[in-house]
Amino acid sequence: MADMENAGRQETAAPFAIELKGISKAFGPVQANKDINIAVPKGTIHGIIGENGAGKSTLMSILYGFYKADSGTIHINGRPTRIPDSQSAIRAGIGMVFQHFKLVQNFSVLENVVLGAEEGALLNTSLAKARKVLTDLARDYELDVDPDAMIEDLSVGHQQRVEILKALYRQADILILDEPTGVLTPDEADHLFRILKGLKEQGKTIILITHKLREIMEATDNVSVMRRGTMVATVRTAETSPEALAELMVGRKVLLEVEKKPASPGQVVLKVEDLRVRDEHKVERLKGVSFEIRAGEILGIAGVAGNGQSELLEALGGIERATGRISLNGAELPLSGAGADGQSRRAAGIAHVPEDRQRLGLIMDFTAWENIAFGYFGDPAYQRNALFMDNDALREDTRRKMETFDVRPPDPWLPAKSFSGGNQQKIVVAREIERNPDLLLIGQPTRGVDIGAIEFIHKQIVALRDQGKAILLVSVELDEIMSLSDRIAVMFDGHIMGFRDPEKTDERELGMMMAGIAEKGAA
C-alpha cells in the first residue's frame, strides 16, 4: 500500500478518484474479495491484473453497484460514497464497459446511448441532443461511429466504442473496462488504447481489468495484482516487469515449460484442405484453411479469440457444417449432411474436448457417470442388450476414470455442476482421452482451471502424443501454445497466417502474425 500512496502523491496533489477500503464479499462459502484496499489517483490508467477467478470482476461489480459488499467503504474523489445500485454509480461519475457488451442489438447507436439517460419523457429532444454530443465526442477522442447504425450491423470493435460513448454521454469521469481486448483484433486493441490515452489526457481516470501482461505494461501507469480474492500488490508499472507481475499473479514461479521429448511424427492422420465455415448470418468465419497433422504430433493453433479457431474445431468435431475436404487416415469424412455429426466423428476416431466445457462439453445437471457417457452413449460396453443401457457398467467405468484422472471428489453420483472448474475439465478430458482416439481436438484445455490441474492436463496431452496420436490444440494463451506444440499455426481473420517451429520463433513474431502482419501461406 505504501508504494501506491507514494505513487499517488507524486502524480497529483488532488485526492484519489477512487479509494476502496477493506472491501470483502463472499458468495456462500466462497470468499470472492477479502479485505481489498486500493487507491487510484485521478487522471491515471490503473491496471488490475489477476488470473480468471481472482476476484477482479466481483470487485468492479461492487464498484458499479451490481453487488453489495459485505464490508468496507468506497470513496469517490475523497468523499465516502454509497453505491447500492448502478444508478448511484452513474451519478458518482463511474462508467463501466463490460466484457459482454450490454447493448440492445436491434436498437440504433443513438438509442443505445440515450437509454437510461433520456432528457424528459419524450424521445425527440434526447435523441437530438445525443446526436450532437456524439459528434463532439467522435471528434475529440477518435470515437467515430455512425449514430444511426443498428448495433447488430456493427463490428465488435465499434460496439465497444458505443459502450464507451454510453459512459462518456453520462459524463463519467471514471471508466472501468473489463477485459476489453478479449474480443478485439490487435488493430482494434491499439485503437482502443489510443482512445484511452486520449481520455486520460482529458483528466479521466481509467481502470483496466485484464489478465494480459502485455496490455498492462503498455497502457497503465500503476497496476494492482489480485490473487484468490486478495490484493497482493500495487506497484508503478514503470518500476515492475512482466516476470515480476506473473509471479505475483500465480503466487510462485510459473512453470511455463512442459517436459516433453522431441516429437517423432509418423504418417499423416488428419488432412484438411480448403476448409470453410459460414455462420448463421452467412458470413464466412473460416476462409479456406489447409493443413496436416501427423501421428505423434501436436499442432497448436494460436490467435486472438474469434479469428476462426472455434469454427475450425466445431467443423472438425461435426458440430458446424463446412465445405472443403477433410480426411482421417486417408478416409474422407463428410462435412455436411448425413455423417457430419458428433457421433460419426467419434466413430471415425476423433475425440473432442470443446472450448466451452460448461456449455458444450458437459450437461451440468447430469451426474458424473451420465456425463462420462456423453457422446458415447452408443458404446457397446455401456449396453445391457439391444434395448437397454447398462448403467452399472457405466458407473463402474466412471469410477475407474475418476480415479485415473484424480477427479475430486471421486463420486460418480455427483452432478457436474458440483465440481470445480478443474475437476469438470478432468471429467471431460478423461472421457475423451480414454477413448484412445486417433485424433484429439482440444480447445482452451486450461481455461478457468487451477494451476495443479493445468500441469496434470498438459501432461496427459503430451502422453497421448507420445502414444503416437495426432493432437490439434487451440488456445488463446500463447504460453500454452508455445510450450505444448510441436508445430504452431497462427490464425487471423479466418486464415492461417503461417506455420512456425516453436523452437525457432518467439512471442513477438507470433504476436505480429496474430495481428495479421505477416505473409500468408506456409513457412
Binding site: A89, N106, F107, L115, A117, L122, K166
Partner: protein, 339 residues
C-alpha cells in the same frame, strides 16, 4: 353479395375485432417487455365477469362538483363495471408478474394456470352473487355501453357509397370500439416516441442493457404487465357490457388465444396488430353468416373451417412461410443479474 350485406359484415367485423384488438395490444406491451403472456384469455374472462357483475348491480353515483356553476357528473353502472373489470384483470396481471418477474417462474405455465383459475373462479363468483348458473343477469340501459352515433352520420347517410359506409360501419358502435381504435396510434406513440417505450422495448430485447443503465428491470416489467392488465380489462368489459349484455361462463371463447395469434401474426407491432385483428374479426364475422360465404364462394364452406382459419394462418406465419416472426429476444426468460 350486395353492398348492404358487405356493410353488415364489415360492421360486425369491427365489433368482433375490438376485443381481439384490445387484448392483442395488451399482449404487445407485456411481450415487448420480455414477459410472455398466454393468460390474456383468463384476464379477459375475469374482467368480463367483474364488469358484468358490477354493472348488473346497478351501482351509480351522482357527483356534484362546485365549479363556477355546479357540475353534475353521473358515474353510471357501466363505468363502475369498467373499473371493476380493469381491477380484476390487474389482479390477475399482478399474480402473473409476481410469479414470472419476482419469483422467476415459468411464464408459460403461469399463464396456463391463471387461465384455469379465471375459468373456474368467474363461474364460482357469478354463481355466488346471482345464483343463475354462473351467469350475471342480463343488463341494459346505463349498465351497458350503448352505441354512439358519430357526428353527421345521419345527414351523410345518403351520400352514395361512403355515406352508408360511415353510417353503418364506422358510426354506431359503443365507446370502447373507438377507444380500441385510438389505442393503436397511442400504443405506437408510447412505444416508439417516449422514454418509457424505449426502455420497455429495451428490456424485452436485452434486460442487462437496461439494468446497467441504472433502470429497474423489475419496475419496467411490472409496469408493462400492468398495462397489459388494464387493456385486457377493457377487452373483458367490452365483452360483457358492450358486445353482449352480461357475463356468461367461458364467454371469451378462446379470444385471448386468437389475440395472441394476432400478436404473432402482426410480429409484435401495433399498427400491424390492427390489421391482424381486423382480419381475424372478419373471419369471425363470416362464420356468423355461412349463407353469405356460400353465395360468394359458390360452394359450402363449413363454419368450423372459418373458425380454424386464424389459428391455421398463425401457424403458417410461425413456420416462416410468410415472413418470419421473431419474438423479442429476451422474451420468456426471467432476468438474473450476472457478473
Amino acid at each position: 353479395m350486395d353492398y348492404a350485406t358487405l356493410l353488415q359484415i364489415l360492421d360486425s367485423t369491427l365489433r368482433l375485432a375490438t376485443p381481439l384488438l384490445l387484448a392483442c395490444l395488451a399482449g404487445l406491451f407485456s411481450e415487448r417487455a420480455g414477459i410472455f403472456d398466454i393468460g390474456l384469455e383468463g384476464k379477459m374472462l375475469a374482467a368480463a365477469m367483474a364488469s358484468g357483475a358490477v354493472a348488473a348491480s346497478g351501482m351509480s353515483i351522482v357527483l356534484l362538483i362546485p365549479l363556477t356553476s355546479v357540475e353534475v357528473v353521473v358515474i353510471s353502472p357501466v363505468m363502475f363495471g369498467l373499473i371493476a373489470g380493469i381491477l380484476a384483470s390487474l389482479l390477475f396481471a399482478l399474480i402473473h408478474a409476481v410469479a414470472s418477474i419476482t419469483f422467476r417462474g415459468n411464464q408459460l405455465i403461469s399463464g396456463v394456470a391463471l387461465n384455469f383459475l379465471a375459468s373456474g373462479i368467474t363461474v364460482l363468483v357469478a354463481q355466488r352473487l346471482f345464483g343463475q348458473g354462473g351467469r350475471t343477469p342480463p343488463i341494459s340501459g346505463d349498465a351497458r355501453f350503448n352505441p354512439i352515433t358519430l357526428p353527421f352520420a345521419e345527414s351523410l347517410r345518403d351520400v352514395p357509397v361512403l355515406g352508408p359506409l360511415y353510417y353503418e360501419v364506422i358510426s354506431g358502435h359503443s365507446a370502447l370500439v373507438y377507444v380500441a381504435l385510438l389505442a393503436v396510434p397511442a400504443s405506437w406513440w408510447v412505444l416508439y416516441r417516449t422514454r418509457f417505450g424505449l426502455r420497455l422495448r429495451a428490456v424485452g430485447e436485452n434486460p442487462a442493457a437496461v439494468d446497467t443503465a441504472g433502470i429497474s428491470v423489475t419496475g419496467l416489467r411490472y409496469a408493462a404487465v400492468a398495462l397489459t392488465g388494464i387493456l385486457c380489462g377493457l377487452a373483458g368489459a367490452y365483452m360483457a357490457t358492450a358486445l353482449q349484455a352480461g357475463f356468461g361462463r367461458e364467454m371469451t371463447a378462446g379470444r385471448g388465444y386468437i389475440a395472441l395469434a394476432a400478436l404473432i401474426f402482426a410480429k409484435w407491432r401495433p399498427v400491424a396488430a390492427l390489421w391482424a385483428c381486423l382480419l381475424f374479426g372478419f373471419f369471425q364475422a363470416l362464420a356468423l353468416r355461412p349463407d353469405v360465404v356460400e353465395r360468394v364462394a359458390g360452394l359450402k364452406v363449413p363454419v368450423p373451417f372459418l373458425d380454424a382459419l386464424p389459428y391455421a394462418l398463425t401457424v403458417i406465419v410461425l413456420a416462416g412461410f410468410i415472413g418470419r416472426a421473431i419474438p423479442p429476444r429476451a422474451g420468456g426468460e426471467a432476468y438474473v443479474k450476472e457478473r
